[in-house]
Structures are given as structure tokens and as C-alpha cells.
Symmetry: C2
Subunit: 378 residues, 2 copies
């Protein structure tokens, strides 16, 4: 069974955060490179991160590969002298062949390279506690009182003294505009200060989304392994105790046995939990659905044909509200065709990604407008 990608370059935010935690806990020298701004087009968007070891091994990606070597060099310099620096790579230049890429990304990419110090601990603590957290970092400043790397964190309990803090007068103007962000936000904003201008990178981070699969058959595995690969935390809940064997679901972070009617009790953070009902038992699926509708989970996928869901729905004691119907996907999955277990897993996990990112799942070639909306606050 294939779990998360073993290719470190293709690491997800979730595995990168794990790598950051391991380095911080071990007090191991390392640097973090973060895309803080992109002008024109780039492969990665602001917020993309790469962790770099002193030996140059990296985890994550900040470009399609064209800048990785240069960023690794910059990271090793930061590991040596402990200083945070902003590096700007202009790929619009036809001489960009120095990046071995030619007319590649056609954009200007700003990358903040900083030491992986304990200033990240409160960030990782908050995310591990399933709480959103926002990190404000100075990436450029004409004010002698503010230096690149100065940091303020909103949404944590612990305090770090690893970096100089930011005055409220710098944080407030940016923070007030991020509060109701529903997805990760990563933007740079210029703020006038007492003695100049500071460019602040504001990065709102959300906990990794969780996939809760209700089922116990072998067809669970293609779903869990593909979802784990895309960065979901994965739990499997089975109604049959004999099936609640972690060895049967090697990609799951957690395998539990539950009564279908008690499935809601398994949900830790409803707003970040996506559920898929695939027990192949209509009665169990019905009881599980009924239980989940009492939670705030944004998505409940039900495997199987429409006719089965119709019967299941008619047998329910409750009548579904419009809000219920909006979060139930029955049949679940994107319309990809194919009936092989892996194809079905692809169909379901692709829908999880689309719903999580508030997209339609249709073809991009038929979608009006840019692939990535720019955050309004930029």
C-alpha cells in the first residue's frame, strides 16, 4: 500500500510541518524558505515552503525546480550565520537561462529564507491542537527599529523569544483584514511605521483537513492512501470490531471501531473533517449519515448509486434540509469514469480536494478567470 509520497520534493504542508517539528524538537540546524510574493506567474503560490538541512537536503518545493538549487545555497548561508533574508528571483528576464530554465515561470518570486528556530514552536503547537494561527513576519523594512525576520504570532498560547516582536501598530492593520479568512492566506503588505515602511508577510495557517472513512473493506485503502498523499489526516472507523486492525489500513493515521449511530463521537474537529461512508451496508451507512448530520462536517460522501441513496434517504427518520443536501455527496466522487479501485479512489479524493478548496472539479479549460484567485486583501 502506498501512503504519502516518499518523494521529499512533493511533500505536502502537513509533512513539511512534521519535518519542521522534528527539527525544532531536536534543536537541529535548518532553514525554512517560504514564497512570500509572486508577481506574474509561478509554479507555487505564496505560502509554499521548503525545509533545508545543513547538508543541503530539502523537504518541500518553492518552485517547479528551477530555483531550488539557488534557494538551497541561500538556506545554507542562513544556517551558517543565523540571519533571515529576502531573496528575489526575476524569471521574466530572458537571461533567466542562468536558472537552467529559459522562458520558464515568467514571474518575479520573493522567497524569505530564515532559520528554523523556536519562533515556529507556537505555530506548530497551535496547528497540532487543530487551531488556526497567523504568523506576521517582516520581510523588508526601511525602519531601523524593524529587521527582516521580526515576528508576531496570533492564535497561540505559548510564547517564543526567538525573534524580536512586532509592535501592534504594525500587526493590527494587517491582522484585522485576515480574521474571517476560511482558507490559508499568504500575503505581503506594506505598512507605514514610525520611521519608515515595513513589508510584512502575513500567513494564516489552518490545521490539516481530516478524512474520516466509515467502512472496513479493502476498497477503503485506495481512498485512504491517496488522501494521505494529498495531505489529509486519515481516520478509518469500522462498525465491525474484528476489522478495526490498523494493519489492514496502513495509510490511516488512526483506526477505530464504532457503532454506526455513534460515528459523530469520532469526529474531533467537525469544520475540518470530510467524511466518506463506504461500509457497503445500507443500514450502517444510514445510521452513520444520521449521526454525522448532527455535526458541522462540511462534506459527507456516500459511495454507491443514486437508487441506493434514495432508499437510504427514504428510510431515514429525519427529512434532509437544504443545508444537509448541500454537504451530502451521493454518489460521491468526481465524474472520471472507470470502476477500478484506484480510479474510484481518485474520483473520491479529487472531490475532497475540490470541495476543500471550494472548486467545481470540472475542467480548468472550461473555467472562466484565473486558475488561482488572488486574495482580495493584496
Amino acid at each position: 500500500m502506498t501512503g504519502p509520497a516518499t518523494d521529499p520534493w512533493s511533500a505536502t504542508q502537513r509533512t513539511i510541518r512534521t519535518s519542521m517539528r522534528e527539527h525544532v524538537d531536536a534543536a537541529a540546524d535548518a532553514a525554512v524558505a517560504t514564497v512570500v510574493h509572486v508577481e506574474g506567474s509561478g509554479y507555487r503560490r505564496p505560502g509554499a515552503r521548503m525545509v533545508v538541512d545543513p547538508d543541503g537536503d530539502s523537504h518541500g518545493a518553492v518552485t517547479a525546480g528551477c530555483l531550488e538549487d539557488s534557494v538551497v545555497d541561500a538556506a545554507r548561508r542562513t544556517i551558517d550565520d543565523g540571519r533571515s533574508r529576502l531573496h528575489t528571483y526575476d524569471l521574466r528576464d530572458d537571461d533567466a537561462d542562468i536558472w537552467g530554465l529559459g522562458l520558464g515561470c515568467n514571474g518575479v518570486v520573493d522567497v524569505l529564507v530564515e532559520p528554523l528556530d523556536t519562533s515556529f514552536t507556537p505555530v506548530l503547537d497551535a496547528l497540532d491542537a487543530n487551531r488556526p494561527v497567523t504568523v506576521f513576519t517582516v520581510v523588508a523594512s526601511s525602519d531601523p527599529a524593524l529587521a527582516v525576520g521580526d515576528r508576531h504570532i496570533v492564535g497561540h498560547d505559548t510564547v517564543s523569544t526567538a525573534r524580536d516582536p512586532l509592535p501592534d501598530t504594525v500587526v493590527e492593520p494587517v491582522a484585522s483584514r485576515l480574521d474571517d479568512a476560511t482558507e490559508d492566506v499568504a500575503v505581503t503588505t506594506d505598512v507605514e511605521t514610525a520611521a519608515g515602511t515595513a513589508r510584512v508577510f502575513a500567513n494564516r495557517l489552518l490545521p490539516a483537513p481530516e478524512l474520516l472513512v466509515f467502512g472496513g473493506q479493502p476498497d477503503v485503502n485506495p481512498v485512504t492512501s491517496l488522501a494521505a498523499r494529498t495531505g489529509f489526516r486519515v481516520r478509518v472507523a469500522t462498525a465491525r470490531g474484528a476489522w478495526a486492525d490498523a494493519d489492514r489500513f496502513p495509510s490511516a493515521d488512526d483506526v477505530v471501531s464504532t457503532r454506526p449511530a455513534d460515528l459523530d463521537a469520532v469526529v474531533d474537529v467537525p469544520e475540518h473533517t470530510y467524511a466518506v461512508l463506504m461500509s457497503h451496508n445500507a443500514l450502517d451507512d444510514r445510521l452513520a449519515l444520521d449521526a454525522l448530520l448532527d455535526t458541522d462536517v462540511p462534506y459527507v460522501g456516500v459511495l454507491g448509486p443514486r437508487s441506493r441513496f434514495r432508499e437510504l434517504r427514504e428510510a431515514m427518520d429525519r427529512s434532509l434540509t437544504a443545508a444537509d443536501e448541500a454537504r451530502i455527496a451521493a454518489p460521491c466522487g468526481l465524474d472520471l469514469g472507470g470502476d477500478e479501485p484506484t480510479a474510484i479512489g481518485f474520483s473520491i479524493v479529487s472531490e475532497l480536494l475540490a470541495v476543500h478548496n471550494d472548486r467545481s472539479g470540472g475542467r480548468l479549460v472550461e473555467r472562466p478567470g484565473p486558475i488561482h484567485e488572488r486574495p482580495e486583501i493584496t
Copy 2:
């Protein structure tokens, strides 16, 4: 890097064919279980296969797991006595709890269990030669002259004597209706014979689709590994010889170096080849696109924003026909959101599956009609 699924249950048709080839070449005892008919709803459709070893190890899936044990028992019996048998599993029965599943699939599934003998050799030969092939097999008969397992193969050079052949009078009525099938077809049809009725399973098989990736950066790997996992044969063509190192693309079956303008020369079987241009070099992508449009490849995906493709298109010497535009996906991929390398790989490979299966992408919950159309000829 994760390549094809290592979970044998989630095997694709491609890896199952490889397993069949290995058994036949080694003259190793084994049986093949094939879903030949489904009444009502089932997890797998007709044509789904499972290879079973004498020790009970299996490769592939014929159900969501509920019947696997019973099918393995039936397969071991066939391995012992060499006889082909049709097994019918009725899951509509509430007593279906004997399958440990309760009100599960709610359908009747007919599974043909036959010896994995050299009658499959011409089939595998044809597919390995990238030629479609159709297999006709008797699954039931009231005619004493025809037995379950009797076989006729259309679309091969070699001949096998492992099975009794079918008379043309039995094959012709079914064969004539399959000729223009564009996808795998698997249907059972009753044919009147001289002395009764024969139920014939007709299975048209197509070669595995091929993904041709033009590019050489690390972002190629999430695309190739996910595509390989879904059953695509994967080739990587890079314009830079230094990048044409198979170790850099562990999921690719084949890595070649080519001039962008010669990319068409790399295409073996155009009608089964899906191409993705992701060199991150606008000039190289343009030359590669121009070359591919002279072939019959059904899909050319171009990575990157619309604006980049617009410039690329304006710089081309040719003006695109409606047919060209219909097979160019720029930007390529389904609208899943997310910018992580794995998410981009998911977006692209999901579109490959949708196009290959003639589907739209988009959510099944918004698609009218059944998830799987029944072949018209049933």
C-alpha cells in the same frame, strides 16, 4: 516516490495483465476470476478480473471485498481440477449476511472462474503489441457441443489450442456488434445454437493508455507516479539530455531525450497516447505542441496559466483548427484548487482519466443519469 499501488487488491488492468503474463510464461498454476455480468448494483463492472494462486494469494478485485474469499475458494477448486465454472452470487438476499456484508451491493454478480492457461497468450500478445483484442468465452450452455470455457479470440496472430474453439455461428452474431467499440466492452449475450442456447461473454480489451510527459523538472514526478498508479504506461521525454536519467523519474516506464520539434517521433500509438507539456520553457512547449498536433493523440495538456498559452499560441506558425482546440487542454487539469505538487498531479491525472473515459470531470452528484452507462449492446 510512490509508483503503482503495491496493494495487490487495488491492482489495475495493466498490472493484472502483467501478473497473468508472468503466470503463463512460467506455466504456473493459477486461476482467473472475471465478473461477466452484474444485475442491479455492484462495486465492480463486467470485465473486472482477479488472478488467484494455488496458495490463495490474489491480485485484483471482483467485488468491494465481500465475495473475495468465496471467489478464492472457487479459484482453488478450478486450479485443482482445471475446470471453468460460472458462479452466481446473489447479494439482494437479506440473508446475504453469509457474505459478512449485510445489505451490501444489492445485486446479482456472475463470476467466471477459469484456469489461467495458454488460451490467454494470444490475448496478452495482442495487448503487448498495442492492438485491441476481443475474447469470446462460453459461460453457460444448454448445447452439449459447447462447454463453459470454450473460447474464440479475434484480433491476434498466434493460435492457442488450450481451449475448444467456438463455431463462427456463435461468435459472429456477437462480434459484429463490437467492432466499433471505443472502450473496453464486457457483455454476456445469449446465442441460439444448433442444439440449444449458449451464453457468451464477449470482452473487448484495449491496450493500456500511455501518458507522455514532456518535461524534466521535479514536478514531473507527482504526475508520473499518480498516472502509473491508475494504470497508464508512462514515458518521460526531456529536451535536455542531461535530464534524461531514468533515476530522476522512478515511476516512468521509459525516459528519453528528444528535440522538442521531434516529440511526435516518440509517440508509439497516437490514439492511446495522452501528452502533457510541462517543460516550463515556453519555446520548447510550443515546438512540442506543434509536433504533437501532427499526430492523432487525443489529448495534449499544457501546464501553466491561460496568458502563457495565449502567447504560445500566437507565436505558432499554424492556426489551430476546431479539432486541435478540442484536444488541447490549456490550462490542463481539473479545477481542484491547491498548488502543491501532489495536488497539481491530482488535477492533471484526474483530467487524463476523465478524458480517457469520455467524462466531464465535475461532481457526480450533479451528473444526470447512472454513474455507469450500460453498454448499448446488452
